[in-house]
């Protein structure tokens, strides 16, 4: 994408970005609002991809529906924009059928933890060898700002106009309890940490989960005290506490001015992955393979 820059008063045209080959630059500009954190996650994923040890064509990005769901379509990879909430089972089928892939699911909090919440916990339980990045902007942004399973108690949205009466999921706690091999949370402010976490997810054999908290200025931000693009980012800077060893039962997220936001790489453990167990199963039963068998 061309972009004018100035150099001592002379206008220069930068015709290329070093990461252009990793994205579908002809599709820019993207659809995201000013101040949105999803583009930061896209850039972090692309930066991590440049360090990937896998052949480029083995990297796959699958997304669901919503603002974050549009990430896949901007990547110059094999990408899949699926149905709302179903990116994880789609990825499960793909990863089982072709275990040499490095599969990322990148989708929003509504997609992953609300409509897709059941798929999330079961993929973590099976320890499917996929990586899930959940961009949490605390509401359904694309549809205009409604509450979901990550909207904090008392927060205002178009479907909780008098304050949310539901308590949100503490998603890292949930996914850790379900059995994921890797669980982390950072914010869109923590660009380096997000990129490093994604690189670590690529190394993990099993289910790896990263929550990235993101501003959503026009909807969640507007109704909850963070209307300008930088407001939520300033809040992340002031209130984030890095605690890799945090007791996950205490890391629920709220966005009040005094609420702490606990971030870190919380879980990094070895459990047998689903595809390792399936391969072992095939090896045990496959001794009959090739031979014609009786009914």
């Amino acid at each position: 994408m061309s972009r004018p820059v100035t150099d001592g008063g002379r206008e220069m045209i930068a015709t290329k970005h070093p990461l252009d080959p990793m994205i579908r630059a002809e599709r820019l500009p993207n659809i995201w609002c000013p101040g949105c954190g999803i583009g930061i996650v896209l850039a972090a994923y692309v930066n991590a991809l440049t360090k990937s040890t896998k052949p480029h064509e083995k990297n796959v990005c699958i997304s669901g529906i919503g603002c974050t769901g549009r990430i896949a379509g901007y990547l110059n990879l094999d990408t899949y924009h699926t149905t709302h909430g179903r990116a994880i089972p789609f990825a499960t089928g793909m990863a089982v059928a072709k275990p040499d892939l490095e599969v990322f699911v990148i989708a929003g909090d509504g997609d992953i933890s609300t409509i897709g919440g059941n798929h999330l916990i079961h993929a973590a339980r099976r320890n499917v060898d996929i990586n899930v990045i959940m961009v949490n902007n605390f509401n359904y942004g694309m549809t205009g700002g409604q509450h979901g399973a990550t909207t904090p108690l008392n927060a205002r949205t178009h479907t909780s106009p008098y304050g949310n009466v539901e308590s949100p999921f503490n998603v890292p706690y949930l996914v850790s309890a379900a059995g994921a091999s890797f669980v982390a949370r950072w914010t869109a402010l923590h660009v380096i940490q997000v990129t490093k976490a994604i690189k670590r997810m690529m190394e993990i054999k099993g289910f790896a989960f990263l929550e990235v908290l993101s501003p959503c200025p026009p909807t969640y931000g507007e109704y909850n005290g963070y209307p300008a693009a930088l407001d939520m980012m300033k809040h992340f800077r002031e209130r984030s506490v890095v605690d890799n060893g945090a007791d996950l039962s205490t890391v629920s997220v709220a966005t009040g001015a005094d609420d702490r936001i606990v971030v870190g790489n919380f879980v990094d453990r070895k459990r047998p992955s689903y595809d390792e167990l399936l391969t072992e199963l095939q090896a045990r039963t496959g001794k009959k393979s090739g031979a014609l068998t009786e009914a």
Binding site: R24, R27, H56, E57, K58, V60, I62, I65, A72, G73, N76, L77, D78, T79, Y80, H81, T82, T83, R86, P89, F90, A91, T92, G93, M94, A95, V96, A97, K98, D100, L101, N118, H119, H122, L278, L281, Q282, R284, T285, G286, K288, S289, G290, A291, L292, T293, E294, A295
Partner: protein, 398 residues
């Protein structure tokens, strides 16, 4: 039996026998349950991925797949629900696998959204519906034919679907292989609309030698020569397989020839035109039907699935009673064989359509017939009694 409308090998398909021989059952005569026969056919057709969720009366398909698929180097996995099963099939299909699941009414309902995704993304896969009595949980586990219209219209938006309806264990086996071939050729989800009687019945099954079985393989996109991944001028587009370097965006949104989302009306028109047209333009190659005593028939029974067995008995009884009855058995209810119905309807006085539902396939029959069409409808939960059909034939013939 299957003399009409056989799927032929075309330029867009290749025969691959290599992948299918290992682990298939020895050729010969077996006594087997319909649901088991379905799994053996899938293995012979090259299917190596199954994602399922238990539901009667289809459970034996899933159970046998869990025994047999690992033996032949495949995977049969249990998902958390049928929504997930259908999604997993599309992922596996794009990984290059022939993929299948089996379910019954309630699970079929849950699959509808991702059936639409498979259709718009052109993912070949096979969904077997061993129908039971509905609506809702209905009667587990007794026979019904209440999902025939759902197979056609169940997923939102405009779809053109392909469905086979077996009437015996042998045909459940044969049509499962055909369903995979059709899915591979058309790059689309294909249904095998069995029912509880056909699924759970034990019958003689002849398993052919693999050399005699036609097995089609989808045309795969070459990363080096890829140009228009969604070339809507072409009915049969090679499929980009994940991990092969095609770098293609596969989208549930209406998408243009590059696979990019678009809100342009002309894109919508060309994409839908392609998705529907690739099946409509070749419908006659998909159609299968079977006839009994059609040559001099004056009263015609049109039936499918287990009800066609009752209809055959009824036609024989009616003949004994002096009525010139014949049977037209629909093997492909979808795409609907409209020209076949029209052709036979011109030769008879009346058509009766017995179904274990309150009127589904009778509607497209009536839409295309040039003679009166009478539905014989019974609640699901028991096989159609042949005497019910004989009684109807007596009424229309006199």
């Amino acid at each position: 039996m299957r003399r009409s409308g056989e799927v032929k090998v075309s330029a867009t398909t290749t025969i691959n026998k290599k992948n299918t021989s290992s682990g298939a059952l020895k050729p010969g005569t077996y006594f087997m349950m319909g649901n088991f026969a379905c799994v053996e056919a899938a293995i012979m057709a090259g299917c190596r991925f199954y994602a399922g969720y238990p539901i009667t009366p289809s459970s034996e398909i899933f159970e046998r797949a869990c025994v047999r698929f690992p033996e032949v180097g495949g995977s049969a996995i249990e998902m958390e629900d049928e929504v997930a099963s259908a999604a997993a099939l599309i992922g596996a299909s794009y990984a290059g696998s022939k993929a299948m699941t089996a379910t019954s009414g309630p699970g079929f309902s849950l699959m509808m959204e991702n059936i639409g995704l498979a259709f718009i993304t052109e993912a070949p896969l096979v969904i077997v519906n061993v129908q039971r009595a509905g609506p809702s949980t209905g009667i587990p586990t007794l026979v019904g034919q209440g999902d025939m219209m759902q197979a056609r219209w169940g997923s939102h938006g405009d779809l053109e679907t392909i469905a086979y309806s077996p009437s015996s264990v042998q045909e459940f086996f044969d049509l499962t292989i055909t369903a995979f071939n059709t899915a591979e050729r058309f790059r689309t989800p294909v249904f095998v609309m069995a029912d509880q009687v056909i699924g759970m019945m034990w019958e003689r099954l002849k398993i052919p030698s693999i050399e005699g079985v036609e097995v089609l393989q989808r045309k795969v996109m070459d990363a080096k020569t890829r140009a228009k991944p969604f070339d809507y001028a072409n009915d049969f587009i090679p499929m980009p397989i994940v991990g092969t370097g095609t770098n293609i965006n596969v989208d549930s949104l209406t998408h243009d020839y590059r696979g990019y989302p678009s809100t342009d009306y002309t894109v919508s028109e060309s994409m839908i035109g392609h998705l529907l047209g690739k099946i409509r333009r070749h419908a006659e190659e998909i159609w299968k039907w079977d006839g009994y005593l059609l040559d001099d028939a004056e009263e015609l029974v049109v039936a499918y699935g287990s009800t066609a067995r009752s209809a055959l008995a009824a036609v024989k009884q009616a003949r004994a009673n002096g009525i010139k009855a014949g049977l037209l058995r629909l093997i492909t209810p979808w795409p609907f064989p409209d020209a076949i119905i029209e052709r036979y309807s011109r030769r008879v006085h009346n058509i009766v359509v017995p179904e274990l539902n309150y009127g589904q396939i009778v509607h497209p029959v009536r839409e295309n017939a040039q003679c009166p069409v009478i539905g014989i409808n019974r609640a699901p939960g028991a096989l159609m009694d042949p005497t019910t059909i004989v009684d109807a034939l007596e009424v229309v013939a006199n």
